[in-house]
Amino acid sequence: MIKFLRIKILETLILLFICVITDAQIKLDSTITNDTTDLKQLVEQKSTAQFSKMERDINQDVNVASKKTLSYRKTPSIVTVITEEEIVKSGARDMIDLLRQIPGLDFNADIQGVVGLSVRGNWAQEGKHLFLIDGQEINETLYGSVNYATNFPLSHIKKIEIIRGSGSAIYGGFSEYAVINIITKTGEDVQGFQTQFQMGHTANALGRLNASVLAGEKIKSFHYSFGAMAGTGHRSDQNYTDMNGNTVRLNQNNSQLNPTYLNFSCGYKGLSARFVYDNMSTRTQMGYGNVFTKSYPSLYSNLLTELKYIHTFSDKLNITTRLNFKNQKTYHLESSEASEENTAFEVPVQRYRANMIVSYDPTKKMNIIAGGEIFIDNAINYSYQFASLNSNKASFTNLSAFTQFLYKNKFITPTLGFRLDKNTSFSQIAISPRFALVSRIGKVNLKCMYNRSFRAPTIFNIALTETFDNKGKPIMVPETSDIFEFEIGVPITRNSYFTLNLFDITTQNPILYNVSETDVESYKNGDKNGNKKLGSRGFETEFKVKDAWGYFNINYSFYTDQGMPQIDDYNIRGYNLEVSNINLGIAQHKFNLNAAYNITQKISIAPSASMWSNRYAATQFDDKGFLISRFEPTFLANVFVNFNDAFNTKGLQIGFGCYDIFNKKFQFLQTSQNFIAPMPALSREFIIKLTYNLSKNS
């Protein structure tokens, strides 16, 4: 399979070299006229020269990696940007469809039907990656996890910026391995109204049925936007077999996903406010270890608010002040719905945060950012006492200070930064330095980066720790990672761009989750055998073509834990399998392809595909322990056809698609030796999307 994959990648690259010969270009806006003869006006004019779409893409502004807007090729991280055009044309159904196309990212199974992210061969679900929507932290505060489901309307997204690598120096404790920053359309982008209806069906069940609206406007210095979505659907329509061999069909009300989403923002000059309500009401029969005898509701809800003020003193100096409040429920099961086999879990948690950032440009090329942050986490456990705290209440405070220096230069752009975090839950101060050099030799872009990232212990990490000091105080030290990265980016033609990046990640004191056979949760730094380090290394490569006919992206990612320290629970060493240098649940080789071809100006067809090499996961538990099974290479193929201005109605979009065309029935695998059995995804799904835009911009 790997040989086949290699040959196909090579063939595709060679073909693309031959085929990419056209130079379609876009004309930039300009107001230049023969009468514009003043030199001061001229130097402020955009060139009306023609640039290819790809040239625009690799020079587009990216903010996520440095808090200072830099072009994609100069930003000091390994960054991927998913544009609105790609989201619309791809027909992606949900965030999983979009993010699994990013090299190095994949999805795996968590408990109770939750799907989480893995990054570069490492399970990144619990507090190891940061998920932001319009700057609002979606990670729940009890465990730090994110439940990837159907909860965000993709039609509201303007772009997604993804850092593969640490963001700790800027974002703190949830951004150890990656940062995903969703940016929705502003009032200025919308300037009117948009609505979308989406329906998907498999052979066995309703995949999804949801409707969304988005409205917004900018009137002089005032702007607002309002987005909402409601829907229903299923996580799976397949058979789920637990670790003891019991099977249940998931096409009824036992794998439901029912999202409700609101996102309102408004602003006047430098002052803005945002309110996000993200509620995912689910039902699951996938118990830990055993299938439940019936399905149970499980709630994941986020209520996020922000008040932000940007005070601009001059072109060189501004101060951003943010006040945030977050109220969340996660894995929530009301006592009235609970039973002996699935006990109640009612632990609402709040985070109060104040953050201030000063951005100063002493010269046009230099930027200095400095700031501070305080947040307070409060949780009340209505279901049971936190074992290590002897209380049902938990409260932790975190103080941070951070700074970053960036010097823009034509030849080399160094970025130097660090962050200090002190949390009442751990005695040490966490130090997260970052150092990056971005350079350009000819047209070749080079990036070289080092980050020490950290993951702050969350409420449950502390409250359920297995480790105590002499006085009986719970001990948990922050998990840290040293991440080295190198990237080369090369424009092959004016319409195409090639990147190759290498990474090396070593994590110290990993905070590991464990649930015993009797459902007792616990946490500790390191595994039961005393191993306190893990890591991966590998590379990701991507080739992108963008032109008037559409776009074509192909990428390949590889990781290994060969020569890296390992945690026994996560890897497959000791199982006498044909490979030993990979982690459980995560394919060593992954290949993605996504493209869109504009058949006419109004009709596009978008094929996409993902291919995973062999994966391994625990499938049974008996007297001898876990049985690790091999999952053969999986190939998922999808296609989506989009009609713009359908039926000669301006603003009406109709799309049809088929996901998992060959009905391969993908399975999300768990990434450690535990009692979460492989979780089937939806089988082949046919979808239809109807979108109507009534915008002054169109």
Partner: protein, 175 residues
């Protein structure tokens, strides 16, 4: 092994062919307006000529744009006379107030500076970075500043040949 070798070969090919891609795309209308402005901000030692003679070396749309402008505009009461020269006519460039070296002929920079010697001629190049090789002014597109068209000035060279450049023009140039 074969795959690895092919992969390395592709990367080497890509790097080796870098000069062929991302050619600087100047807007020729803007370029011609810049030229007119440069003339306004530069003083020639002999101001008695009744016209400004401008030569474009090599094929460039700037020639057409300047020709159009010359029919409707004059600078400081003087006409603009636009000529186009090829690489065999470099011995004539001394006769011009302004010489524009087209992007396609950027490799002639050495010959141009040799031909000009210390003549009071403003040598403008469409290709960026040539101020380091003796050009008076080089145009560039700043990809980091929203693709704005900017220019670099070689002040020392301009003054060496007896031209005077205004501080305002220097202030607006890119380092």
């Amino acid at each position: 092994m074969k795959f690895k070798l092919s992969f390395i070969a592709i990367i080497m090919f890509v790097i080796a062919t870098q000069n062929q891609v991302f050619a600087q795309q100047l807007d020729k209308k803007m370029m011609s307006l810049y030229v007119i402005n440069f003339i306004k901000y530069v003083q020639w030692p002999n101001q008695s000529a009744s016209e400004y003679k401008i030569a474009v070396v090599g094929s460039s749309e700037v020639f057409g744009e300047l020709s159009k402008l010359s029919s409707t505009k004059n600078i400081n009461g003087k006409k603009l006379v636009i000529s186009q020269l090829n690489d065999s006519q470099l011995d004539k460039i001394k006769e011009f107030h302004v010489v524009i070296l087209s992007n396609k002929e950027a490799n002639l920079i050495k010959k141009c500076t040799d031909a000009l010697s210390n003549s009071p001629t403003l040598l403008i190049t469409e290709k960026d970075g040539l101020t380091k090789k003796g050009a008076s002014i080089s145009m560039l597109i700043d990809e980091d500043d929203d693709f704005k068209t900017k220019f670099q000035i070689n002040k020392q060279k301009i003054e060496e040949v007896g031209l005077k450049v205004s501080t305002e023009l220097l202030a607006l140039s890119t380092k």
